[in-house]
């Protein structure tokens, strides 16, 4: 009697769509800056391998607890409620950080596109106006509860992946001998290579946000299978495209722009390629915000419903059935942060902040798998990688990557904001949230 749920292709498309963002290309070039040119391709692939370990950890947990709870449920089982709430709040901060970088970079891409296409009216629109229009557009779409159908999401994401791979192969095969000579003579960067891997963590951010969809899947093997497949696809796409950019355009030119993908398109293929890459960028931002803004507002809403956050955030719009207060708060905070990033141009800070938060979440997930194998050995595990090397290994590796992101060349604002936000989330989860919960439980139900 059960209806058909989401299949593997739709789940992979949803997962990849959440991770593929316009800001990922800027992150790739920042990684190339520290990992010395074409070594970034190896850094992205190594980043993909360690993220694959995390994907397998998530697969084990998603198959263990297919009850639409996601990370907060896994962490709660291993570490208790306080840590679970801390991690959930940090996810909200991560969403804001990623959204700030994404809206700024998307605005810059639109401006670039308008100038390249010689559309004078659009090219004179200030970036802040593009940021406001972009965020307002996604706010309204989410407020009205417009959801991208599974098939549309699948077609959109795979079109984007196909275009990315085609453009990349075109660039790799048409690179000149001097291009190859320039990048192949670059010495191995050692410490910079580790930093490069850490920077690439941002490129995979969000792939795991499909774990709460386990119950919507056709069967309970879909999400555990989709996670590693998505990481593999992302690693190949990012490695090919970032490599194509670095191979054909001087790195300083790419690194000087928040939209290196557009700079690459202009330099390598002129206006036609700018239009194609511009389209990829629009699709990437759409799939990023389509799931991201709604997902984050739902996190706030769910925490408010549990009594962890103020009750006002749990209000539902009675016509569109969307969490309009949570969504409005998300939008307001996102707009303020995006404005700050736009006015300062400091887009690298939110990118590295998101990578730092995600590194610690991935480390925690590795530890969660290790702890739960000992604490709940009898729980059914339809997906399980033998031994503890993967779980403990990903804990150690992501902890190291997270720590490395706190040191130069990361801007000092990155560790500073991380510590302030992390401490605030921890204190709220352990000292304020219990009071809210107690107050909520004192309200007698109307029976």
């Amino acid at each position: 009697m059960r209806k058909r749920g989401m299949g593997l292709a739709t789940m992979v498309a949803t997962s990849a769509g959440l991770a593929l963002a316009s800001s990922s290309y800027a992150a790739g070039i920042q990684a190339a800056g520290v990992a010395s040119g074409l070594w970034v391709v190896l850094a992205i692939l190594v980043g993909g391998i360690v993220t694959m370990a995390t994907a397998l950890n998530f697969s084990e947990l998603a198959a263990m607890y297919p009850n639409a709870g996601g990370v907060q449920v896994y962490v709660r089982h291993a570490f208790g409620r306080g840590m679970s709430v801390t991690v959930t709040l940090l996810y909200v901060v991560l969403g804001w950080a990623g959204g700030s970088a994404e809206s700024y970079i998307f605005a810059q891409a639109l401006t670039y596109l308008a100038r390249a296409g010689h559309v004078p009216v659009l090219s004179q629109v200030p970036p802040l106006a593009w940021v406001a229009l972009t965020l307002a557009g996604f706010y309204v779409v989410n407020l009205f509860g417009v959801e991208l159908a599974g098939m549309a999401q699948t077609v959109m994401t795979f079109s984007m992946i196909g275009l990315l791979i085609a453009v990349s192969i075109f660039a790799w095969t048409n690179a000149s001998a001097s291009d190859w000579h320039g990048v192949l003579t670059t010495p191995f960067p050692h410490w910079g290579f580790l930093m490069g891997i850490a920077y690439t963590v941002y490129m995979y951010v969000g792939f795991e946000w499909i774990t709460p969809l386990s119950e919507d899947a056709r069967d309970k093997r879909v999400v555990p299978r989709a996670l590693p497949i998505t990481v593999l696809i992302l690693a190949v796409c990012y490695a090919l495209f970032t490599g194509a950019m670095v191979l054909t355009v001087p790195l300083p030119d790419l690194a000087a722009s928040p939209v290196p993908h557009m700079v690459f398109a202009q330099a390598f293929g002129g206006v036609p390629l700018v239009l194609i890459v511009g389209l990829i960028s629009i699709l990437a931002t759409f799939t990023f915000f389509n799931g991201g803004m709604m997902g984050n507002s739902r996190l706030l809403y769910a925490m408010a419903r549990e009594g962890i956050l103020p009750k006002a955030l749990s209000r539902v719009h009675l016509r569109f059935f969307t969490p309009w207060v949570a969504l409005s708060v998300m939008f307001a905070v996102q707009f303020v942060l995006s404005t700050i990033v736009t006015l300062t141009g400091a887009y690298v800070v939110p990118i590295l902040l998101a990578a730092l938060i995600e590194s610690f979440v991935y480390a925690l997930i590795g530890l969660t798998v290790f702890i739960l194998r000992r604490r709940e050995p009898a729980t059914d595990r339809p997906v399980r990688v033998r031994g503890s090397v993967l779980a403990l290994g990903s804990f150690v590796v992501f902890l190291a990557l997270g720590v490395s992101l706190m040191f130069p060349p990361s801007p000092p604002a990155v560790p500073l904001i991380f510590f302030v936000a992390g401490t605030a989330c921890f204190l709220y989860a352990h000292f304020v949230a219990p009071r809210f919960e107690e107050r909520a439980s004192r309200v007698a139900p109307r029976t």
Binding site: K3, G69, D216, E306, F321
Partner: protein, 113 residues
């Protein structure tokens, strides 16, 4: 003899039908909601033409399913338990679309506050 879960669902449907806002929300929302107890009888809440009725057993193709132990389901439908907390704790499973989830939760909030 009718089970406690059946009585809880009956009470819920009476309250839902008595609330004008809830009845208004049920417009164009015909759904078969499976209430699947993991340790007892299961029921179906049938929403059709703004009317909610309780049916014994699992009827027709479901649009939404709520799966939990009987005590949890009774607690949720009598307002004694917070469904969001039960969901987060892994005690209550929801199967269905995001929109249906929000609508059902909005109805529960309207009835129980």
């Amino acid at each position: 003899m009718e089970s406690p879960l059946y009585l809880a669902l009956q009470e819920f449907t009476v309250k839902a039908q008595a609330d004008k806002t809830v009845v208004k929300m049920l417009r164009d929302w015909d759904r078969m909601i499976h209430i699947e107890s993991t340790d007892g009888d299961s029921f179906t809440l049938s929403v059709a033409d703004r009317r909610v009725t309780v049916l014994e057993g699992l009827h027709a193709e479901r649009d939404i399913a709520l799966v939990a132990p009987s005590a949890t389901l009774i607690g949720v439908f009598t307002g004694a338990l917070n469904p969001a907390r039960e969901f987060a704790a892994g005690q209550l499973k929801f199967v269905g679309s995001n929109k249906d989830e929000m609508k059902l939760d909005a109805i529960v909030q309207l009835i129980w506050g």
